[in-house]
């Protein structure tokens, strides 16, 4: 029990809202600090990328972590959101403020169709259908001149109510992305703790039983898939707005799905904070190795050492395998977040009493009161 007690202490400390608020304040103040030390555009742009992919990973985790279905084509919804935004803005001159919600809703409906096809099978077959759908769009968009082929679509930075976003002065983007991360986090937290979310977890734990109890599991899975796709489109909208270029290689190819899997597995699958931690970790490692490690390598170093910094995916891949083999709960698990809700916690809620005397395992993460 010592493990649980220890992680509980940690959890209790994270559980207090102050920690969350302090973290948020620190993140909000980050650009000012970065500005002071002179690395503003670069460090801030890394942080923005982390936040965009945190939203993507959270959306992916809603599917993989809470329903137990692994899609290998989730990037198609990131791409869909990004492409819809770019096409609406570029080809139809729709302002960003209108294109963004249209892209999210449109992708949610698109995901409904894809889910309708893919959920006719499960397991490996489900993974292959989703991969197939994503690859169909990847190969099509790569050769379709209307959407710019391999180069993709290049748009102007969005202008919202007279405010011009500027990729070289990324403050506006930073706070837009931060707000999106917070809202997405709160939304997924609300969702997984709602009765809807509990049915999803029941499907993950035992789909047959969930069906036997009388839930229409197909409807729940479809709803989860659609919401998950729509959230991925939110990340896609941010992607288009920030990078101002939407190309098939970076938004539709299956390696982006793979990055998402890296993030949720290493961060902590099926926990609320896991995807955020994972995104920060994966992108952080990437930049730390590819940008900063280079400085430590002397000029005439042997080839194998000189090649180290650009091979950051090797390190992440090994970490990913280690996570799957040994530490399934990921970094979030190590910090005391569990993907399974304790019976004490549930009982405490049901009986309406305050905290149970001695909770055995903590809930599924977040700063719950």
């Amino acid at each position: 029990m010592s493990y649980f007690e220890r992680s509980n202490e940690l959890f209790e400390s994270v559980k207090t809202p102050y920690i969350g608020a302090t973290l948020l304040a620190l993140v909000a103040a980050f650009p000012l600090v970065a500005n002071a030390i002179g690395g503003l555009p670069f460090l801030t742009s890394i942080a923005i990328e982390m936040m965009i992919f945190a939203v993507f990973a959270m959306s992916f985790n809603l599917l993989v972590g809470y329903t137990g279905y692994v899609s290998f084509g989730h990037t198609v919804f990131l791409g869909s959101g990004a492409y819809m935004t770019a096409i609406l803005m570029k080809k139809f001159s729709v302002p960003f403020i209108a294109a963004a919600p249209a892209a999210v809703v449109g992708t949610g409906l698109f995901a409904l169709v894809v889910g309708g096809i893919a959920f006719r099978r499960s397991g490996v077959y489900f993974a292959m259908i989703t991969l197939g759908v994503a690859q169909v769009f990847y190969t099509l968009f790569q050769s379709w001149n209307y959407v710019g082929g391999d180069t993709g679509i290049i748009i102007d930075p969005p202008v919202v109510f007279g405010y011009e976003f500027n990729p070289f002065e990324p403050m506006g983007y930073y706070y837009l992305a931060l707000a999106t991360v917070v809202v997405t986090y709160l939304f997924t937290r609300y969702l997984v703790r709602s009765p809807f979310g509990h049915v999803l977890q029941a499907i993950r734990e035992n789909e047959e039983r969930a069906r036997a109890v009388g839930y229409s599991v197909r409807t729940f899975k479809l709803a989860a898939f659609s919401v998950s796709g729509g959230l991925a489109a939110v990340a896609g909208v941010l992607y288009a707005a920030y990078f101002t270029q939407v190309a098939p290689g970076s938004t539709l190819y299956w390696t982006t799905t793979g990055d998402g899997l890296f993030m949720i597995l290493i961060g902590g699958m099926g926990t609320l904070v896991g995807p955020i931690i994972g995104s920060v970790f994966v992108i952080g490692t990437q930049y730390a190795l590819s940008t900063y490690l280079v400085d430590f390598i002397p000029e005439g170093a042997p080839t194998l050492i000189a090649r180290l910094p650009e091979r950051w995916p090797l390190l992440l891949g090994l970490l990913f395998m280690l996570t799957v083999l040994r530490f399934r709960s990921g970094i979030a698990g190590g910090l005391g977040f569990s993907r399974v809700r304790s019976i004490d916690d549930v009982l405490a809620r049901v009986s309406g009493s305050a905290e149970p005397d001695e909770p055995a395992v903590k809930s599924d993460g977040g700063d719950e009161k």
Binding site: V70, Y125, R311, G317, M321, R328
Partner: protein
């Protein structure tokens, strides 16, 4: 000549190219299908073993000075090395996951695919190594009924056919093959009979890696590069799904079929060939999920 006969010649050339590409897909798909049939693992890393075979083959050719001798040595040595690596991976990395949920196996093999690709880039560099000059033996073509068949394509097709025949004989005529087939049919019951299924797992994994690496060496003259593993595994998945997961002859038929569809789509279809074969896969998954020859009941 009349336009009709020219068209027929084009069709025949496309067909032969399709069979030749299909044979390479068969070489990747055989191991994929055997491993799935026996262990229930869909091995994402199998394409990476194919690519690794190509790189080790190139290294062997470099050491031995290339030419036809180098190529033949590469055809022998690279598959053996990759088979040993595959068997080692099965023992250390895959084994702990046989009893867990399939999603972890899928995730693990995906991670392994990335690791192998990155390791190859680390050792040999990320840039494509380039295509070595083809031995003079392969220059020229057989002319058959007015259709010219380049030697190298003929060689690929013959080698593929030989590997298929050899594997089929191994599975149907040897005692070990019998254990493997029994294991595919029912792993638990085979183990209960006192047969060493675990050893069969390792051996089949090694065999699959061997065949894939053979394909990788053949692929050297098409241009091997680190990303080839990731790009060949997708059509190979399509092959095993269309043929029926776990079905040996299903993989062979589907491999040739997908190869031919690919070439015809590349020449005649208004959309990319990659799109066409994925649409074929999705259609098969929805209409006949057990594939052409698959018998396994598919959980729906």
């Amino acid at each position: 000549m009349t336009p009709l006969s020219v068209g027929l010649g084009d069709l025949a050339t496309t067909f032969v190219n399709g069979v030749s590409y299909g044979m390479i897909l068969v070489l990747v798909a055989l191991g994929l299908s055997l491993v799935f049939g026996l262990m229930g693992v869909l091995n994402f890393a199998h394409g990476a073993l194919f690519m690794l075979g190509g790189y080790i083959g190139l290294a062997v050719m470099e050491l031995t000075g290339g030419g036809i001798t180098g190529f033949v040595l590469a055809l022998i040595i690279a598959p053996l090395v990759v088979a040993a690596i595959g068997a080692g991976l099965e023992r250390t990395v895959y084994k702990p996951l046989y009893d867990t949920e399939p999603i972890y196996q899928l995730l693990l093999t995906f991670g392994l695919a990335v690791v192998i690709e990155e390791a190859v880039k680390y050792i040999w560099g990320a840039a494509p190594p380039g295509v070595p000059p083809r031995p003079a033996v392969f220059d020229g073509a057989v002319v058959f009924m007015g259709i010219s068949l380049p030697y190298y394509r003929v060689f690929t097709i013959l080698l593929g056919a030989a590997v298929v025949a050899g594997t089929a004989l191994f599975l149907s005529r040897t005692r070990f093959g019998l254990i493997v087939r029994a294991g595919v049919y029912n792993t638990d019951r085979t183990a209960t009979l006192g047969l060493n299924v675990e050893r069969a797992f390792t051996a089949v994994f090694g065999l699959g890696a061997f065949i894939a690496a053979l394909g990788g060496v053949v692929y050297i003259y098409r241009a091997i590069e680190p990303s080839v593993g990731a790009s060949i595994i997708l059509p190979a998945f399509i092959v095993v799904i269309v043929g029926g997961l776990g079905s040996f002859w299903g993989s062979v038929i589907a491999g040739l079929l997908i190869g031919i569809i690919w070439q015809f789509a590349a020449v005649y279809a208004p959309v990319p060939a990659g799109t066409v074969i994925f649409l074929v896969m999705i259609a098969v998954l929805l209409l006949r999920p057990q594939g052409i020859l698959g018998e396994a009941e598919v959980e729906v």
